[in-house]
């Protein structure tokens, strides 16, 4: 099987400081990869490099494109990469405000992404928007409301709908359940798991919440000081951590 994403020796420095260094991994279709580490470990830098939001110093990010097979995303032209960002890729931000247009209606937020890939028929766009609002459990009566009138959890679900409406194959998520009530978190986790399974999505989820990765990710990558220090099956890394730092991380979680 061809990996969906094949990352080789990705390195990004800020001046002389390390953002992330020498990160390599592969991701296969349908897999969810979790990246954990404390603040400053380089996990967000890595995610932003992968998604094309930051320019890495070195390395390759090879994505199995629909039309042209495996290609190095970093070597693509800017318009090509932007097109990828609107079609096969999606990015769910920690703060829904970064991923939504707050002055546009909920339906408009979902429809806009469809229009960006060429949809023009109003009825079809509105139909797709309604379908997606339903899938993320937002009542259809809210379609013309602005996201500013939504709760944090609803905004996050709307952001997910906006991102998934174009049927991407790879979703980047940066702390998707951060800042939400635990009860809302659980519902969102279940929603994401269901979507991953039904759409055959692959996802890379950055979080510092070990409980979230346990339920969401198949595989786990632990980062410290910009380096990957341990990888493996999620439950194996959490239940039998090998690296000193991972052991510290796992044993520091407060039990409920």
């Amino acid at each position: 099987m061809t990996p969906l994403l094949d990352v080789k020796s990705l390195t990004m420095t800020y001046g002389g400081r390390i953002g992330c260094t020498d990160v390599s991994f592969t991701l296969y279709p349908g897999e969810v990869l979790g990246i954990v580490g404390e603040s400053g470990s380089g996990k967000s830098t890595l995610l932003n490099c992968l998604a094309g939001h930051l320019p890495p110093d070195r390395g390759e990010v090879i994505f199995d494109t629909r039309a042209g097979g495996p290609r190095d995303v970093l070597a693509m032209s800017e318009p090509e990469r932007r097109m990828l960002g609107r079609t096969d890729w999606a990015f769910v931000h920690q703060n829904p405000r970064d991923g939504l247009r707050m002055r546009v209606s909920a339906g408009g937020n979902v429809g806009e992404r469809l229009m960006a890939v060429g949809a023009r028929h109003y009825g079809e766009i509105r139909g797709a928007a309604l379908d997606w609002l339903d899938r993320v459990e937002i009542h259809e009566s809210r379609i013309d409301d602005r996201p500013a009138a939504f709760s944090g959890g609803m905004q996050q679900r709307l952001q997910i709908a906006r991102n998934l409406v174009t049927g991407p194959r790879l979703v980047f998520m940066d702390e998707p359940t951060g800042g939400l009530d635990v009860s809302v978190q659980a519902r969102l986790l279940d929603l994401i798991r269901g979507l991953v399974r039904r759409m055959g999505l692959s996802a890379i989820v950055v979080t510092h919440d070990l409980a979230v990765v346990r339920l969401l990710a198949d595989r786990l990558m632990v980062m410290k000081d910009g380096r990957v220090i341990e990888t493996g099956l999620t439950d194996q890394v959490l239940d039998d951590p090998q690296a000193p730092y991972t052991q510290l991380l796992v044993s520091s979680v407060l039990q409920v």
Binding site: Y28, E31, S183, A186, R187, L189, D190, R193, R197, R214, L215, D218, R219, T231, G232, L233, D235, Q236, D239, D240, Q242, A243, P244, Q247, L248, S251
Partner: protein, 227 residues
């Protein structure tokens, strides 16, 4: 079906002075299709450790574990994930699920992951929940609020909803009443009859005598004894 050779396991506690605790050495046994092997030994002898290594949950430091031809001590994570999806089931003592997901979906999930159609998956989940006497009124609720015995039966339903060719059972009858215990024992017997290779931990001696074809005392794999 399950073949364990010369397995060795130790834990190194880097944050507690770097002590290394050897747990297993030279562990070896095999299980044929249709056979049930019970692991025995005192608490702390390493029964659960063996089970967890077989499931790929713990890493082994030495040896090999072949399940359905795949050596899980050397396999890629995605190969182990596929093995768990298709071949290797595990009924643990604890239920670990996303809160707020209905019981019916929790039980149907292993089938959905295999690509079984939603209606058929739910139908098979319903049949098993009925057989395990989980009241229908509870099916739409999350099992996280259930009693210990109910949670255990939901776990068992998850483990038997797909006919895994290899099955790991960690005290499947521990907190069950007589009737439900009987149901679980017949589920195990049916799985054996259909060719599943089973490794189990049973503190329930009668249950062990009834379903296990052989016993393996893991005390024999303890490093202290070997030294």
């Amino acid at each position: 079906m399950i073949d364990v050779q010369n397995l060795g396991k130790s834990f190194t506690l880097h944050n507690q002075g770097g002590v290394t605790i050897p747990v297993l050495t030279g562990a070896g046994f095999s299980v044929r299709p249709g056979e049930c092997v019970a692991l025995t030994g005192e608490s702390g002898a390493g029964k659960s450790t063996v089970m967890r290594i077989l499931y790929g949950n713990y890493l082994a430091q030495a040896g090999a574990v072949r399940i359905g031809g795949l050596d899980i001590t050397r396999a890629e994570p995605r190969e182990i994930l596929a093995l768990r999806r298709e071949t290797l089931g595990y009924v643990s003592q604890f239920l670990r699920v996303v809160p707020r997901v209905p019981t019916l979906d929790v039980v149907a999930e292993p089938l959905l992951a295999l690509g079984v159609a939603e209606e058929e998956a739910r139908e098979r989940a319903r049949a098993l929940l009925t057989r395990l006497r989980i009241p229908e009124a509870l099916w739409s609720l999350s099992p996280t609020t259930f009693s210990g015995g109910e949670q255990q039966r939901v776990n068992i339903a998850r483990g038997f909803v797909h006919r895994y060719p290899a099955l790991l059972l960690d005290e499947p009858t521990a907190s069950l009443d007589a009737q439900n215990r009987e149901t679980v024992l017949s589920l195990i017997e049916e799985a054996k009859a259909s060719g599943a290779a089973i490794v189990g931990i049973f503190h329930d001696l009668e249950a062990r005598a009834r379903v296990a074809d052989r016993e393996i005392d893991v005390t024999g794999f303890s490093p202290g004894r070997a030294a």
